[in-house]
Subunit: 160 residues, 6 copies
Amino acid sequence: MTYFEDYIVGESHSSYGRTVTETDIVAHAGQTGDFYPHHMDAEFCSTQPFGQRMAHGTLILSVAIGMLAGEINEEAMSYGYDRVRFIAPVFIGDTIRARAELVEMLDHPRQPERFGMAHERVTVTNQRGETVLALTKIYVVNRRPADKVSPTASHNESGL
Amino acid sequence: MTYFEDYIVGESHSSYGRTVTETDIVAHAGQTGDFYPHHMDAEFCSTQPFGQRMAHGTLILSVAIGMLAGEINEEAMSYGYDRVRFIAPVFIGDTIRARAELVEMLDHPRQPERFGMAHERVTVTNQRGETVLALTKIYVVNRRPADKVSPTASHNESGL
Amino acid sequence: MTYFEDYIVGESHSSYGRTVTETDIVAHAGQTGDFYPHHMDAEFCSTQPFGQRMAHGTLILSVAIGMLAGEINEEAMSYGYDRVRFIAPVFIGDTIRARAELVEMLDHPRQPERFGMAHERVTVTNQRGETVLALTKIYVVNRRPADKVSPTASHNESGL
Amino acid sequence: MTYFEDYIVGESHSSYGRTVTETDIVAHAGQTGDFYPHHMDAEFCSTQPFGQRMAHGTLILSVAIGMLAGEINEEAMSYGYDRVRFIAPVFIGDTIRARAELVEMLDHPRQPERFGMAHERVTVTNQRGETVLALTKIYVVNRRPADKVSPTASHNESGL
Amino acid sequence: MTYFEDYIVGESHSSYGRTVTETDIVAHAGQTGDFYPHHMDAEFCSTQPFGQRMAHGTLILSVAIGMLAGEINEEAMSYGYDRVRFIAPVFIGDTIRARAELVEMLDHPRQPERFGMAHERVTVTNQRGETVLALTKIYVVNRRPADKVSPTASHNESGL
Amino acid sequence: MTYFEDYIVGESHSSYGRTVTETDIVAHAGQTGDFYPHHMDAEFCSTQPFGQRMAHGTLILSVAIGMLAGEINEEAMSYGYDRVRFIAPVFIGDTIRARAELVEMLDHPRQPERFGMAHERVTVTNQRGETVLALTKIYVVNRRPADKVSPTASHNESGL
């Protein structure tokens, strides 16, 4: 378990890559009900500036969040996202990967003695290294209870 | 087509309702790769405070955005989301609906003569009227070119 | 709500376009259990006159009916289809759109004082304008109860 | 291969049973884009006379046609459906099966020397034996070429 | 119904062909949670010796077993598989077919008077005739009860 | 990277739990084409000894293998499975988890100087701790090249 006190600003992790497929777009239209021709009509898209079908913004967002899901930390809970920005379109065949970097640890506004807020900067890039999506993911994280000594601290102490 | 000048702050529209099903959660896990036991393991969930499997946050977000997709406005483009907040869990069998209200029209920061920004407040509620998700959806909207008179204006003028 | 008396023969509406994908065919095979090599085996199809995998007839029919689903009219109920004809094959990558035209309003055979029958001619075309599917969609529509004056009529009367 | 001359009016075959699941309805909404609350909103449905979510008509039709797909006959080609009638609603958990009976063999209207038309009566029933869907499925069937003797005939002759 | 005594070693049957699609791989990742870049990341794969995305072994196995599912024999029950070997990769666009040959009939180790074991050799080949997967499928099969004469035997006897 | 020399017989790892849903079964039928009434017809199943729909064996196998997919080891390659045994049925709502234990390390039969074979015993249990599936998963693993010293060895040496 990782408590608020264990988080280290600047640490980051990256996902594997994943190619966004026509299947993903059709499945996402089917899940959300958004069958806009920008996603589903190749003929229409060929007449538009972008020239081809684009992935839904919520598809890229959902896949990116999913790709970053790693080990479960029972002491943290998803709170929300800030500044979600769809920076560039993602097309069928593009390969995306996501990177999360811990950028800020804040006190919880109302219960600072119990919780903190972790802000992770999530960046999704395509195979050319272009950023296609960026957002800040916010967690509420438990502070370490007084009766639970950090394993690192304990290790250090035992090393005395 | 609806230009920046045609938007009316305070206008709102609501979606139909949709029941969130086990199928939706399993499909969303499959689309995103997030198979956390909070979503997929009914045994584990029965030992937790929430007692049952919860929908992924990105599922509710994606469905809500999709449910609000109505007529296409070629003069507007999705820009991003602000202050996405997962306020309450959504469980299998809950019925959600989404409502969008235009809350603010802003100048585009860099090209105010060509574009504006529309801020819509999106609220997702369950069958008990509880808000489960809230966010601000931001569009970039084209300003009306000088050579395109508004239909309303034109109508008014012809009424003189 | 739209009653029998409000329908206007000759009125029509058209859907957006949608590209039929390999995903749609694989998903439809999975939903129906029809894995015939005409739909699923590209090697076999390359030896046949049509040369490539074909969409299931029921896929095109289902998508067309779905693409035409617009505003809900609580006063109408789907009754069935007549003369469903699979006129030309649909291949992966074809883009279809559907058009519905109200062609006939009939009395209900047994309860003409309460219901009427609306016949819509549905035509599905591909990106070359070729008709691939045609059918007549039949609804049972409620007649306007005596105590419900048509909004149009009411407007006209108030205009006296 | 079965030619026009081999069909026997009155012959029938039946499918296995299949339980219509919430998954089927959610998947069919996703394939067709029809998310009407009659199919997707359990809260709304509980306020309606039918009381619960109903399967799409095109879902039951597609599944029924798929369930009857048996051995491939290269000498027959699907032509269309007549008199498709949605007789009773199908709800989640209902188990349907389909039965097809050959009811009529007709000459092809324009090329009677080469083709015939086979009319199959398809009936879909639920677990209470109630008919929920009926339709006539029409095939174009090749007549036996003069140089291809029927295997039965050939067997009979060799038996002389 | 087919009893142990009715099985004939050396008999075989083959499936139709089926083209393995990108959709199948994405759906299988979604069903199993295995999103390894070998299956999902076209960029990564292009840097590897195999050069492109590969189907999951369990996808090919599942599809092969499904393709061979024919008439139901209520007297047989799936017991397991032996020597499942992934012999060659299957890529998007490959067309596979499966063949099953009955290779051995054994007594059931503990209840030989009631059951036997049928061993089927399953071979999956691609469009170039290369074997991509091989396994032995094992069934437990009921022996014919003393009071049930074989239809063949009965036919022979009545022919005396 | 983990070479043959780094594997430790007796080591094991376990997956999270996952509830097998009706959705999983319907999706697996759709992926494989196996719509046997044992999986799909609740009415039929209610007349059978097992009383309810059963998951496909290949579904449980595929999910189990997927649930155990952890960190990628580029030095190992899936070879096949031995003694796959379907020990008990899995029903809708059962929660399974998988455990893999390294049970044996063998020389590669033909190229023992380059490769070894790792045998993992995979056991899938349900929420009552009953084993429902067992198999041996076999990998081909690269031996450590002479020019790559093990990090542990190197650490030990540096510790001298």
